[in-house]
């Protein structure tokens, strides 16, 4: 059972974090996903794409948590899980302000667009996989991604203009 979940636990956590925006709540979601997978372990063998199924469970639980209570957002870098010591060369060039602007810009996107841009640009899923995870049609996934990128481009271009 754990074989299906362990390799993707970071993906589950990041997706939960994207939705609930809070480290502790995201950890709770991952734990709840584990319990759900454990309860359904007999049916898991029949599921063709286990990763997509786990991501869908994560999405549903995270959205449920988000609706049940208004989660408190952590400090900007609290939930990133990386310290300045292992900052990538990529990151070193960017100021915290820029990172915050991008994070806030994504956070301000409609929920569906946030999820789609996360699943595509962070996790690298295909349109079909995103459609399977979110329940949106492939066409809607493309539309949401397009809109999300347009909004981000607009915000980023205004910063660097």
């Amino acid at each position: 059972m754990l074989k299906a979940v362990l390799p993707i636990k970071d993906k589950l956590y990041r997706y939960a974090l994207r939705i609930v925006g809070n480290k502790m709540s995201a950890e709770d979601v991952v734990q709840e996903v584990l319990i759900k997978v454990w309860q359904k372990k007999d049916q898991l063998e029949k599921i063709e794409n286990k990763e997509a199924w786990c991501m869908t469970v994560t999405r549903n639980l995270a959205l449920d948590k988000l609706r049940r209570k208004k989660v408190i957002l952590d400090d900007v870098d609290d939930h990133r899980g990386i310290s300045d010591d292992n900052m990538s060369p990529y990151r070193a060039l960017q100021s915290d302000d820029t990172m915050k602007i991008i994070r806030d810009a994504i956070q301000e996107l409609p929920e569906a667009q946030q999820q789609v841009i996360h699943l595509r640009d962070v996790e690298g899923y295909t349109y079909k996989e995103i459609a399977d995870i979110t329940g949106f049609s492939s066409d809607k996934v493309k539309v949401y991604l397009h809109r999300a990128r347009i909004t981000l481009r607009h915000k980023l271009t205004s910063i660097y203009a």
Binding site: Y13, R14, L17, W38, G81, L93, Q94, T98, A148, L156
Partner: protein, 146 residues
């Protein structure tokens, strides 16, 4: 020069939401090496950082919890099983036995002879009954055309 042109075209495709995963990988690699700051470099830097976020909490297997009612029912079932087992065991130990023990060899021989004689009589009676039936059968067969 054509490579730069290609990246520019790919970047436009990216913003329009039309790039493939492979093209997005090319852009990731390209902007990862760039020192010049700009919207794309900032965004791909952000995405790179997002990918490095890890779940650091220990993964624990969920403990199987039974409801109070299940636990109670299981306790009652176990108690009943023990009680029934004990009752059956006691009954077996105290039940009267059909065994007869004869210590006198002569008496034992006499009883055995009587038993065999009884069986012999029964067998004789059975044999006679079969013979009677066969004769009756023969007569019906013999005189069936009359």
């Amino acid at each position: 020069m054509s490579e730069v042109h290609n990246i520019k075209a790919l970047t436009e495709k990216y913003w329009a939401g039309e790039t493939t995963l492979e093209e997005e990988r090319i852009l990731n690699a390209h902007y990862g090496e760039q020192t010049e700051q700009g919207p794309e470099q900032a965004l791909f830097s952000f995405l790179h950082e997002e990918r490095s976020v890890q779940y650091t909490k220990e993964v624990t297997m969920p403990v199987v919890r039974r409801s109070k009612w299940t636990t109670r029912l299981l306790s009652i079932a176990a108690t009943l099983l023990i009680l029934m087992g004990s009752w059956w065991g006691i009954n077996q130990a105290t039940a009267p036995s059909n065994k007869v023990t004869i210590d006198d060899p002569q008496l034992a021989l006499q009883i055995t002879r009587e038993a065999f004689a009884l069986i012999n009589g029964k067998v004789d009676k059975g044999e006679q009954a079969i013979m009677d039936n066969i004769l009756h059968l023969d007569k019906t067969l013999i005189f069936k055309n009359l």
